[in-house]
């Protein structure tokens, strides 16, 4: 003990009765900034290269985006002469980009519908709001959304889905693909983990085939084949067809995420439930799934981001989502087609949504980690 007294020995915090004396690793000194940037030859080169990239890019971007740009103009002539960005185009066209070819005098409806959907999304973020009421609220919200957009009842004029466009289409596709895909994903995951060969083989086959295919080919399949595969008289509109493809796709990916959670639950949980006399359905519903889903919430948010981004692919089957509406707005010949500005604007909307979700997932992970430490 005489030698040990000189060392920074202290009991480890929660070791209880069996307190052990342990040697803490020496704290790393924080290197001064000059050493971090120019400490070694390699580091100096890296710093200089990064600084060169920044110095070359940032002033040009400022010149293009702010100094030389046109912010207010009623038509394209000012933009044609300027060398900078044409933000005036976005000011003139933002309604068309956000709501597509929805009748302009009715555009308060998509605005209201999107606002309502965002409110429900914000309400569902805090984990303490996760209960049965939330599921009910979502059903109501989606129903209200569809009624508001479609109309034909309550004195609203009928607007067929062919006239829907922009952000509402993107949002409803993402929400329905994830919302309807989730229960199917859970069923597929349970099937894949099943001891019975028939559901297992069917689930594995479905999941692997769908995951092996590009989404573009699924979209093609549903837009071309679905009308042929349904009986005569049963038609399904373009938006719903794309929705079906996205739902099938998200179900397969969600199934793999949920399977990860199912695999993380110890076998003993199911055995204990069986010993208590619970039926298979009750075992799954009350013992396995609540624990498994709790575990996979962070990876689930990743799939949500992927699906939000994937809705942009409906471009290939000619639906007017946010991206296609932007492309349509660019076709106006009276403006000089500021492609870069429009795509940056659309990318920014996606970025805000997806980055928000990824930060939210980090918050959830930290929260789950905090629950582990007692």
């Amino acid at each position: 003990m005489t030698t040990a007294s000189n060392l920074p020995l202290e009991p480890i915090a929660d070791a209880g009765d069996n307190a052990v004396l342990a040697l803490r690793p020496p704290a790393r000194r924080k290197a001064p900034i000059a050493q971090v940037l120019f400490g070694t030859i390699g580091n100096t080169l890296l710093t200089l290269a990064t600084a060169a990239i920044l110095l070359a890019a940032v002033p040009r971007l400022i010149q293009w985006g702010i100094l030389d740009s046109i912010w207010t103009a009623t038509d394209g002539s000012a933009c044609r002469e300027a060398s900078g960005a044409c933000w005036a185009f976005l000011r003139a066209k933002f309604r068309q980009i956000l709501f597509g070819i929805y009748p302009p005098d009715q555009q308060w409806r998509p605005l209201l519908a999107v606002t309502m959907l965002f409110c429900v999304i914000l309400y569902s973020l805090p984990p303490r709001n996760w209960d049965r009421f939330l599921v009910f609220l979502w059903c109501i919200a989606v129903a209200c959304f569809l009624v508001l957009m479609q109309g034909g009842v309550l004195g609203l004029t009928l607007v067929p889905t062919a006239y829907w466009g922009g952000l509402p289409v993107t949002l409803i596709l993402a929400v329905s693909a994830l919302g309807i895909g989730f229960p199917f994903g859970v069923i597929l995951a349970l099937g894949r983990r099943s001891a019975l060969p028939v559901p297992r083989i069917l689930s594995v086959g479905l999941i692997e085939v769908i995951r092996g295919l590009p989404l573009v080919s699924l979209l093609f399949m549903s837009s071309i084949m679905l009308p042929i595969m349904l009986p005569e008289g049963l038609t399904i509109d373009k938006l719903a067809r794309a929705g079906v493809a996205l739902t099938i796709f998200s179900a397969a990916y969600l199934a793999e995420v949920v399977r990860g959670g199912l695999q993380a639950i110890p076998e003993g949980q199911a055995e204990a439930a069986r010993a208590l006399g619970l039926s298979w359905v009750d075992t799954i519903r009350q013992v396995i799934l609540p624990q498994a889903l709790q575990k996979v919430i962070p990876p689930l948010t990743n799939t949500v981001i992927v699906m939000v981004k994937n809705t942009a692919l409906v471009l290939v089957v000619g639906l007017f989502d946010l991206l296609s509406s932007g492309k349509a707005a660019l076709a106006d010949p009276s403006w000089p087609s500021p492609f870069a500005e429009t795509y940056l604007f659309i990318a920014m909307i996606y970025f805000v949504i997806c980055f928000g979700i990824s930060r939210y997932s980090l918050y959830l992970e930290r929260r789950a980690a905090a629950g582990q430490v007692r």
Binding site: V36, I53, F339
Partner: protein
């Protein structure tokens, strides 16, 4: 008495059967199978019914008919009188070519970005993080369209083409650069080149160049390289081969001669590489984070330099964690090449889309499309699983 007993016995037997686990599992499985088969039969019956009603001929006979549509670029000589099968081959080669380039470049680039995110240098770290977050949180199609717009609208016309290097022209028609032309003795030259490269590869992989530091012998390695070059030179000299550079020249509205990278190709490659690199970077960072801190500390205690710890201790261990998620990333690249459709590069999916539009053979088209992508996916994952087994930690 006996007549009363009989039915209750029967109920008992039936209830015993009902609660028999094996019987129940068979019952459930046959019900699921029945539901599945019923759905499939229903859909097939509807399809056949609709096909007859619409008068659509099914079958793969159309494959040998002339395609009658042009394909902008490809490796095989193709013209619109060629059959559909040839058009598919051109598209498939384009898909594989793009996938291969993107996988190789994005892996290397993403590896650097991933290391950059764990760099001690705050400038590098910040730039890498910004890059990764921007790329990962915006849809790939939007990025592709953005690059395509930059390359077609943002660049000048061929007459005012940018010339970043002599002989290199960048305009809205694409990138034009000189290309060597080999004339005469092509068979001999080709075989010599093949033999030489095989020898060089073998020599490089040989202990003298890649072995353990102690066994490495730079003079021998350099000697082998010199010998390869000498052999190559001798072959060129011996077989009256003329190698000349074909320079791109502005003629009329466009350049002729040299080699070209079209804006579609460049937009697709740049977009896919940057997008994939961001995901690769995250995988690499995750792999490096997963190597225990003690490994770094152990390396420091041995007096190794930081970059030696990284390359000799941490990266080899991180590779084992990196390889499986990388497999799915590579599969994503192959699947993402279908977005060539958005920028108009003739990959397999867009050739197929044109075919379906032209012939109306939707079912056959979709079937071919799906089976080709499934086949590619399966082969990539088989290869990566083999690689993973080789990289795995061998314990006892």
């Amino acid at each position: 008495m006996r007549s009363l007993l009989h039915p209750s016995c029967e109920i008992k037997a039936m209830s015993r059967l009902w609660f028999d686990a094996r019987f129940r599992s068979y019952l459930w499985q046959s019900l699921i199978m029945l539901a599945f088969l019923a759905t499939v039969t229903w859909l097939t019956a509807n399809t056949l019914d609709n096909l007859v009603r619409r008068g659509i001929q099914t079958g793969f006979g159309f494959l040998s008919r002339p395609a009658r549509f042009p394909i902008a670029e490809g490796f095989l000589a193709y013209d619109p009188t060629n059959p559909y099968l040839k058009a598919f081959a051109v598209g498939l080669l384009n898909t594989l070519y793009i996938s291969m380039i993107v996988i190789v470049v994005a892996t290397a680039f993403g590896f650097c970005i991933g290391l950059g995110r764990r760099s001690l240098n705050p400038l590098v770290r910040g730039l890498a993080s910004c890059f990764v977050e921007t790329m990962r949180n915006t849809p790939l199609v939007v990025q592709l369209l953005f690059w395509y717009a930059l390359l077609t609208i943002g660049l000048p016309a061929p007459r005012a083409a940018l010339e970043p290097m002599p002989g290199l022209f960048l305009s809205l028609r694409g990138l034009f650069f000189p290309w060597p032309i080999v004339e005469g003795g092509s068979g001999l030259f080709g075989s010599a080149l093949l033999l030489g490269s095989a020898m060089a590869l073998r020599a490089f992989a040989w202990q003298a160049c890649l072995g353990r530091p102690k066994r490495r012998s730079p003079p021998l390695c350099a000697g082998l390289g010199g010998l390869a070059i000498l052999l190559l030179g001798l072959t060129v000299w011996a077989s009256d081969i003329r190698i000349s550079l074909d320079q791109p020249v502005l003629r009329g509205f466009n350049f002729t001669g040299g080699a070209t990278l079209t804006p579609e190709f460049m937009a697709l490659v740049v977009g896919l590489v940057l997008y994939t690199a961001a995901f690769v970077a995250e995988i690499v960072r995750g792999g490096i984070d997963a190597v225990p801190k003690g490994q770094w500390e152990g390396g420091r205690a041995l007096g190794l330099r930081e970059e030696h710890i990284l390359w000799l201790i941490v990266v080899p261990q991180a590779l084992r964690i990196i390889v499986p998620p990388m497999t799915s990333q590579f599969l994503n690249v192959v699947k993402n090449t279908t977005l060539a459709l958005a920028v108009g590069y003739p990959d397999f999916a867009s050739v197929m889309a044109t075919t379906i539009n032209q012939t109306g053979q939707a079912i056959e088209g979709v079937l071919i499309l799906m089976s080709v992508y499934l086949a590619i996916s399966l082969s990539v994952s088989t290869f990566m699983n083999w690689y993973n087994r080789r990289m795995m930690l061998v314990t006892r």
